[in-house]
């Protein structure tokens, strides 16, 4: 327990696991990088509680499976398991990279929006993923505009370093979620075109990387499922890794 208190893995005991995965033996290793998953209040289910919140989508299997790739493919010293953080305490500031999923349902309070803004201005990096179409975009923006009322969301252009920091991601395509096997479409709702967008700081560095109309989390989660297309899983890994390395050097 004392190891947890000094910065090791602290399991989330909210019972909201969407996709259970075994806890690796080295879960308590102290590392440079920790995959921080943002636990936020969602509009869909109200608050954190009740049926699982949308923050926990694909959790924790997607996180842990992605981290295996990060370990194998890069020199990043990363923990094998994620860390759930929220915007109510100070823990998030010890994790300068944080991942939020299904933000088309998030609903940040004013205090949480202020904290997220402070986190980003200090140098934190937020990657959001797995939300689709106009309706979810609007919900996403409703909270983001409280975080940054004064900063525009812009398209991340191809030459941006985030697409080249490790892998050259000039040829990007829509990474579908597992829903594709039920609907037969790579997109969800009216989110036909995958969009890589961002919020930049005053020095042209991305603070918020927005993966709209794609589901990288599913690709990480289902990368070991033979039916899920390897090229989609591969791109999802590459994007995720690029985003982490970008956040660690920019």
């Amino acid at each position: 327990m004392s190891a947890f208190q000094r910065g090791g893995f602290r399991p989330f005991r909210g019972g909201e696991e969407d996709s259970p995965a075994p806890l690796p033996a080295d879960a308590n290793e102290k590392t440079e990088f920790v995959f921080a998953r943002l636990r936020y209040p969602s509009q869909r289910y109200g608050g954190y509680w009740g049926f699982r919140g949308s923050w926990a989508t694909d959790y924790p299997k997607a996180d842990r499976q992605f981290l295996q790739g990060v370990r194998r493919l890069t020199r990043i010293h990363t923990r094998s398991v994620e860390q759930v953080v929220d915007l109510d305490g100070e823990e998030i500031f010890k994790h300068p990279w944080v991942y939020a999923v299904e933000v088309g349902h998030w609903n940040l309070g004013d205090a949480q929006a202020r904290k997220l803004r402070e986190y980003l201005l200090r140098g934190g990096f937020l990657m959001v993923d797995d939300f689709h179409g106009t309706w979810e975009w609007d919900i996403f923006m409703a909270s983001l505009s409280r975080v940054f009322p004064d900063r525009p969301v812009v398209e991340i252009e191809g030459p941006d370093a985030i697409f080249h920091v490790l892998y050259d991601l000039d040829e990007r395509f829509q990474v579908p979620g597992i829903m594709m096997f039920r609907t037969g479409r790579t997109f969800e709702q009216d989110g036909i075109e995958p969009r890589w967008r961002g919020v930049y700081d005053d020095r042209g560095r991305i603070m918020v990387a927005i993966c709209h109309n794609m589901d990288l989390g599913d690709a990480w989660e289902w990368a070991d499922w033979p039916r899920y297309p390897e090229r989609c899983a591969s791109l999802a890994y590459r994007i995720g890794i690029n985003y982490i390395i970008y956040a660690m050097v920019h």
């Binding site: 440079e32 020199r75 010293h77 010890k94 490790l166």
Partner: protein, 753 residues
């Protein structure tokens, strides 16, 4: 009184030689003395036994002693004792009277200026007395020596006083003139900082006694005087600089005063100081921002206090060249780390720093940032001097020592030692001892002796605290005031990790320590000079917590890193490095321009054409060629005269054929008359030493009447040796009477008359 008793002044005895004029042998004197003593002894013994009163042995001995002493004295007089002394021939010798005519002599003390005091000494018979015996030449002196006819010619306006140089001139004149002595009336304020041994030797060789008459108060009652203000001669734009000011004060113990740095009258920094008691010098440091690039003339001052007797010595001017160059630093990182992100961010805020980096993202790939062109660092860490030496600083992150080839390790050593660059070693799981540095060639560069074990890096939080050296260092200054700064360091968020960097090497300085779990303290930041460069170890990769765990407006992290990076590169020279031994020319014109020229591998360039384009006051411009210094390849020098007072800026430009090797800028200041405002108290020490070393004497003004007589006894000029007999000195007769009287009184007392 002395002269009444001994007939002659003390100088006669001091300078003369005792001689016996009778010519009779000394052994005869000794024999007669022994015989007389024995005869008297026998007589005293006989009488003491046969008389009416029997004297004890001690009493008889006392009587015998008095009688023998009298006999001895009379015998000595028969041998005709005398003093042989050299004296100047009347009216055949010249006495040079030098009166200090510098501005410090215009200081008013009581009702008269120092110059008026000096004139009064001369008028109150000294000059007349001298003229009775000698040819007198009157001079006024400041920077140079000037013959004057009357005291009215003295003005007290000379911008400087050079006692040594002017005495040298007099000594040179003594080759053709019979200079018997020099009388110097001065406050001893010599702007060249003293009198050279060469000058003293020349005066001694010519046996010219210098008699100094000290004018002016020896200790002001209420005054503050800045003695020195030490600032770097060059700095990067926006640098935080420290002016270390040394001063002394009289009569203001425990008073508050204000220390200020101004540029063109505008205060850049101001700080309240407390004046300590006692006579000791006090040193205070004041921080200020160097501002934008360009030549700066900065005034460092202590605001005058009420009742201060002399205010012209409260400030000094110093020149600082704020360079427009951007220093390049190469950062090699072996793995993606948060520290790198935040170091980059801190450096990006700094207009004077350019941070290029190589990051090992995977086993076989690197990611470059801040490169000058797409080809730069394409092959990874530089293997050639011309590639690495283009940087002024190097940061080695969490990367194993073995990642560098032996040749690259040697190159890093040369980067510091010969090129003069700075290297910072960070902690990490592949850094320092855990990275195998203890047994690598790079261990030599480190300011610490690394532990001979692995497992020194821990991802455990650690607190930080400044050492006493760190509290004094500008490198660690996050707050203007030292006390606030130390407190701020204590309140910094804990580091994310730390590493045992071992013990500091002799000569290294530990500026900050970390406190690990269990309270163990270890060096956090250690620095040292190494060869022409400098190296440092920062035993953590977790200062990024200072950024992430404090408000985004807090600048602790950025300031620390910018200052550390600037420290790393501040002294790294370019290929052309200009210098001058003295940045401030006080009342002189000669300036020595020097330059070191190196090629891109920082090897000396012996075949360069080097010139200095000098811009002076009023827009004057001149081009001076610097010539190669003999037997010092790569060094060039020229002597030049700064004809007008003011600031000068010299751009040193070196070419090889048509190719420019590089350029550098240096500044110097010629200020006239400023030094006269300093050290205004009478420098009695200098005047006394000068007199003692030349055979003269230091005189207070009220004693100076006797000077004319004393000067007569000199071997300089045209002199004769005189013999002064001593037998008729009043003291001799008084002694004889005293001895006889004493014997008689004793005999009466003991009843033996």
């Amino acid at each position: 009184m002395f002269e009444i008793l001994f007939k002659y002044p003390w100088t006669v005895f001091e300078k003369g030689r005792l001689v016996l004029l009778s010519g009779a042998p000394l052994w005869l004197l000794a024999a007669l003395l022994a015989a007389g003593g024995a005869a008297l002894g026998a007589q005293v013994w006989r009488r003491s036994r046969s008389g009416r009163v029997v004297m004890s042995w001690p009493r008889a001995g006392a009587i015998w002693l008095l009688q023998t002493a009298l006999i001895a004295l009379l015998l000595a007089l028969l041998w005709r004792p005398a003093v042989s002394i050299a004296t100047l021939k009347p009216q055949q010798n010249m006495v040079a009277v030098l009166v200090d005519d510098s501005r410090s002599m215009s200081i008013r003390e009581g009702s008269a200026t120092r110059l008026e005091q000096a004139a009064a000494v001369l008028r109150n018979s000294l000059l007349e007395d001298l003229k009775k015996k000698f040819q007198v030449r009157l001079y006024s002196f400041g920077k140079g020596l000037q013959r004057i006819e009357t005291l009215e010619a003295l003005e007290g306006k000379a911008p400087a006083s050079r006692i040594g140089d002017n005495l040298k001139t007099i000594a040179a004149e003594a080759g053709s003139l019979p200079v018997g002595a020099v009388v110097l009336l001065s406050d001893g304020s010599d702007n060249t900082g003293g009198i050279s041994l060469e000058t003293i030797a020349e005066i001694r060789r010519r046996r010219i006694p210098v008699h100094s008459v000290g004018i002016g108060t020896e200790q002001l009652e209420r005054d503050i005087e800045i003695r020195e203000a030490a600032l770097p001669s060059r700095a990067l734009a926006d640098s935080r600089l420290s002016a270390v000011v040394t001063f002394r004060h009289r009569g203001y113990a425990d008073r508050k005063a204000r220390l200020v740095v101004r540029e063109s009258g505008k205060a850049l920094a101001s700080q309240e100081i407390t004046l300590r008691g006692g006579d000791a010098r006090q040193t205070e440091a004041i921080l200020f921002n160097a501002g934008i690039a360009g030549p700066k003339s900065l005034e460092v001052a202590i605001e005058p206090l009420e009742g201060e007797e002399h205010r012209g010595n409260n400030s000094l001017t110093r020149l600082v060249h704020v360079e427009s160059r951007k220093a390049r630093i190469l950062y090699l990182e072996g793995e993606p780390r948060w520290e790198m992100k935040f170091i980059r961010r801190a450096a990006e805020e700094d207009r004077s720093l350019l941070l290029a980096s190589i990051l090992r993202t995977t086993e076989n790939k690197t990611y470059r940032q801040g490169i000058a062109n797409p080809k730069e660092l394409e092959e990874g860490f530089p293997a050639r001097p011309e590639e690495l030496f283009g940087f002024q600083g190097l940061i080695v992150g969490s990367v194993e020592a073995a990642y560098f080839t032996p040749a690259q390790q040697e190159l890093i050593g040369q980067f510091v030692d010969q090129r003069g660059g700075g290297v910072l070693f960070l902690a990490g799981r592949s850094a320092l001892a855990d990275g195998g540095y203890a047994r690598s060639a790079l261990a030599e560069l480190l300011p610490v002796t690394l532990p001979e074990r692995k497992g020194t890096f821990a991802r455990e939080e650690a607190g930080v605290e400044l050492t006493s050296a760190g509290r004094a260092s500008i490198l660690c200054r996050l707050e203007e005031r030292a006390q606030n700064n130390a407190e701020r360091w204590k309140k910094l968020p804990a580091l994310a990790d730390h590493q045992d960097a071992g013990a500091p090497k002799p000569g290294a300085v530990v500026l900050a320590e970390l406190t690990a779990a269990g309270g163990r303290r270890m060096p956090l930041l250690a620095v040292q000079n190494y060869g022409r460069g400098r190296t440092a170890v920062l035993a953590t990769g977790g200062t990024w917590r200072w950024q992430m765990l404090q408000d985004h407006t807090d600048q602790s992290h950025e300031m620390f890193w910018r200052q550390l990076l600037r420290w790393l590169v501040a002294e790294a020279p370019g290929q052309v490095s200009g210098s001058t031994p003295r940045g401030v020319l006080s009342d002189e014109t000669g300036v020595s321009l020097q330059a070191e020229i190196k090629d891109r591998s920082f090897r000396p360039v012996a075949d360069a054409r080097v010139e200095a384009r000098i811009l002076g006051p009023g827009g004057s411009a001149e081009v001076v060629e610097l010539n190669p210094a003999p037997e010092e390849p790569g060094r060039y020098a020229a002597a030049w005269a700064a004809e007008r007072p003011g600031s000068y800026l010299a751009e040193i430009l070196a070419k090889r054929g048509e190719e420019e090797v590089g350029r550098d800028v240096l500044m110097f200041l010629r200020e006239d008359g400023v030094a006269e405002n300093f050290r205004t108290e009478q420098n009695r020490e200098l005047l006394t030493k000068l007199a003692e070393q030349t055979g003269g004497r230091y005189w207070r003004p009220e004693q100076a009447r006797r000077l004319a007589e004393e000067i007569s006894y000199s071997e300089a000029g045209v002199s004769v040796r005189e013999t002064r007999e001593l037998w008729n000195m009043p003291v001799v007769f008084m002694l004889i009477l005293a001895m006889r009287a004493a014997e008689w009184l004793l005999r009466r007392k003991w009843g033996a008359v």
